[in-house]
């Protein structure tokens, strides 16, 4: 290779550039994982156990008769109202189509004592608004029982920062979206990862650090309170 060739070419030449050998990325068998349960009740149990363990809150609302009331109660529990504060706390929510099957969010928030923050797609002031919000509410795209995690894919109806900037994150997990283990997760998400956005984020409980003397502190840069509500 000539000296003038950009470094990239020289490097790839050294490391072996495409040479039409065997296919890349041949699928491999799963390593047996002891962590995949199958039936919905077991999945819910495992999910709850894991999320509780890392300091998250879990509310099992599957089959709950009054979802609106229940969600409202959860919200009020997450943000106890401080006496004498005139301003109502602000809450932002995403526009996942699943909301159509759930209590209407802005009404729900109003009733619970919150002002809604509307963050639509392409909103250039989204970040500023979210920085002022107390609660971010999202619908989980997938959830993982193995670790008590929820997955948020990049969606036109959801700003990435809803689950990041406000200090409280409430995530609603529809039952059918709860998976067992990592292998299941990556299988389900493979298409999205290879797709046009390729962005997703896996969230497990509240933010934490042990950088000072290895002492655990909950709530650093990301939300300090995370609550999951499991719904049917």
């Amino acid at each position: 290779m000539s000296d003038g060739a950009p470094f990239r070419d020289r490097l790839l030449d050294l490391l072996g550039s495409p040479a039409g050998r065997a296919r890349l990325f041949e699928p491999l068998e799963r390593v047996t994982s002891s962590s995949t349960a199958r039936d919905p009740a077991a999945l819910r149990d495992r999910f709850s156990q894991e999320l509780l363990r890392v300091g998250g809150e879990v509310h099992d609302l599957t089959g709950a008769p009054d979802l609106r009331g229940a969600l409202g109660e959860i919200l009020r529990g997450l943000v106890p109202s401080s006496e004498g504060t005139a301003a109502r706390p602000q809450a932002a929510f995403d526009r996942d189509p699943v909301w159509e099957k759930l209590p209407e969010p802005s009404a729900l928030l109003l009733e619970a004592g919150f002002d809604s923050v509307d963050v639509a797609a392409g909103d250039s002031r989204a970040i500023k608004k979210l920085a002022g919000a107390t609660v971010g509410i999202t619908i989980a795209d997938l959830a993982l029982a193995e670790t008590g995690s929820i997955l948020q894919l990049d969606r036109p109806w959801r700003a990435r920062s809803i689950s990041l900037l406000p200090p409280v994150h409430l995530v609603i997990v529809p039952e059918g979206r709860l998976l067992g283990g990592f292998e299941d997760l990556f299988e389900a998400a493979a298409g999205h990862l290879g797709g046009s956005s390729g962005y997703m984020t896996l969230i497990t409980g509240p933010s934490r650090t042990a950088d000072i003397e290895k002492v655990l502190t909950i709530g650093v840069h990301g939300p300090g309170k995370v609550a999951a509500a499991l719904v049917s």
Binding site: F7, R8, L11, L12, L14, L15, G16, S17, P18, L24, F25, L28, R30, V31, S33, S34, E50, V119, A121, G122, D123, S124, A126, I127, T147, S149, D154, P156, A159, R160, S161, F182, E183, F186, E187, A189, L193, G194, G195, S196, S197, G198, Y199, M200, T201, L202, T204, S207, R208, T209, A210, D211, I212, E213, K214, G219, V220, H221, G222, P223
Partner: protein
């Protein structure tokens, strides 16, 4: 970062004599060991996972060019830009150019060892760009004007008292602040930085070739913020970070999190494939991936050393290393301390720089035992020693060479061996008989400063065997 590995002996000695440092590391280790043991116990398939992880890392390494090319293609297809840097200077140059074109005045960084390696902060600051480390440990270390002492917990060498004092001076938190208060104080200051920064810089834990995905793991949320709020995101990775498939992440994430912090998963795992899609409310408008060689291709080309590139930077080998435990990370003089540091620093920073590091090990083998990707670390340490011995100039000290030649000559013949053993007996027996705690000169001086020498027996096993054919040395010795 400029290597200071030539000062290793002195640094190590000073560290040993620093009880506060040793206590800090020991305390941190204890909690880590406990968490990790629990986490590993929860996975009976731990060894199978390690096997698979080693396999897929080797898969990527064996066809590294193809995997990197696939990664580049997919990221570019989404509108991301991929840049290739031969060394640290080139990488800094690329980042500065990106910053210049974007008109960036301020940057937030999430934790990245590779950015330490290339001295990125200094380069950015030199160009008038304000850089702040957003990971709490890194932030503390930055405020103190120091370098990180550990891959995972950069400020582990500092006590809470020291940190409280530092934060009080630098950001005005209360002088006697406790840990939650200090954390809140830092969070407030850094939140503003996140919201205002033009440029976000991150490392990469895994880069998936199949899907063109950059994976970043963290607990604090600062990496998410750094890679979501600023309009430009620059991710920097070494060439060895690429892995084949998304499915491989199932194995790698389990191993990395348990090995690094004893968690089954970190709070956040971000998967980034490109800049924000059109019409999105947030996310960076520009995504740049800088792929750094920095001497890794040299390690890669040496078949003996290639397995060192499997490293997923978990820090387990550091935590289990009895040497690291006693001297801490700074003594190693460069970015990567502990066993992995002693293995790769000679290759990345040059053998001349790092000649002492591979020898600072008793070869106890714990590192290789705990490495999640089964890097044969003790073997590689010896391989580094062998490379040094084989090198013409300067090679090992002449006294070492002489001693070895002598040793090999003596044990090469039974007669010479018996004569040498006899000489040793003749010399040491009377001295140690009279004064068991005798201090010696020469190479034995180092031994006898802290320990008594063993006294050669009056009659060697060989002599006894020859002397007593009937009993043949089986009976009790007189």
């Amino acid at each position: 970062m400029k290597p200071r590995t030539r000062e290793f002996h002195d640094s190590a000695r000073r560290a040993i004599e620093n009880p506060a440092l040793r206590r800090a590391i020991a305390t941190a280790n204890e909690s880590y060991m406990h968490s990790r043991a629990n986490a590993v116990a929860g996975l009976p398939e731990w060894n199978e996972l390690r096997d698979r992880a080693a396999f897929v890392k080797d898969e990527a390494l064996d066809r590294l060019g193809e995997h990197l090319a696939a990664l580049e293609e997919r990221i570019e297809a989404r509108g991301g830009a991929v840049h290739w840097a031969e060394d640290g200077a080139a990488a800094c140059g690329i980042v500065l150019e990106i910053a210049r074109k974007a008109g960036a005045r301020s940057a937030v960084k999430s934790k990245s060892m590779v950015t330490e390696e290339i001295g990125l902060n200094a380069a950015l600051e030199g160009a008038g760009i304000d850089v702040v480390e957003s990971d709490l440990g890194e932030y503390i270390v930055q405020l103190a004007g120091e370098t990180p002492s550990h891959i995972i917990t950069p400020a582990i060498h500092k006590s809470r008292g020291e940190i409280a004092k530092l934060l009080h001076e630098k950001i005005g938190t209360r002088a006697g602040a406790d840990i939650p208060e200090m954390t809140r104080g830092a969070r407030e200051v850094l939140r503003e930085k996140f919201l205002r920064a033009d440029l976000g810089v991150s490392g990469v834990n895994f880069a998936v070739a199949e899907t063109g995905t950059l994976v970043i793991v963290e607990n604090e949320g600062n990496a998410r913020l750094s890679t979501t709020l600023p309009r430009v995101h620059v991710a920097i990775m070494g060439i060895e970070k690429v892995v084949p498939r998304a499915a491989d992440l199932a194995v790698l994430l389990r191993l990395l999190c348990r090995s690094a912090t004893g968690q089954s998963i970190t709070t956040y795992v971000s998967f980034i494939g490109g800049p924000r899609p059109p019409g999105a409310a947030d996310g960076p408008k520009e995504l740049h991936l800088v792929i750094l060689d920095g001497g890794r291709s040299r390690l890669w080309s040496d078949r003996r050393m290639r397995s060192a590139l499997r490293c997923i930077r978990c820090g387990a080998c550091l935590n289990f290393c009895p040497v690291y435990e006693r001297i801490g990370g700074h003594a190693y003089g460069w970015v990567y301390p502990g066993p992995i540091g002693s293995v790769i620093t000679p290759g990345l920073a040059g053998m001349d720089e790092a000649r002492d590091l591979p020898h600072a090990s008793s070869l106890c083998g714990r590192c290789g035992e705990v490495c999640p990707v089964k890097i044969p670390l003790p073997q590689l340490l010896v391989a580094n020693r062998a490379r040094e011995a084989e090198a013409g100039r300067p090679g090992p000290p002449w006294s070492d060479r002489l001693a070895m030649k002598l040793f090999a000559w003596v044990v090469g013949s039974p007669a010479r061996y018996r004569i040498a053993a006899g000489l040793l007996r003749w010399f040491l027996r009377p001295i140690l008989g009279a004064r068991p705690a005798a201090r010696m000169f020469g190479p034995l001086r180092a031994w006898t400063r802290a320990r008594n020498l063993p006294r050669p027996a009056a009659e060697s096993f060989h002599a006894r065997w020859r002397r007593d054919p009937a009993q043949r040395a089986g009976g009790k010795l007189p």
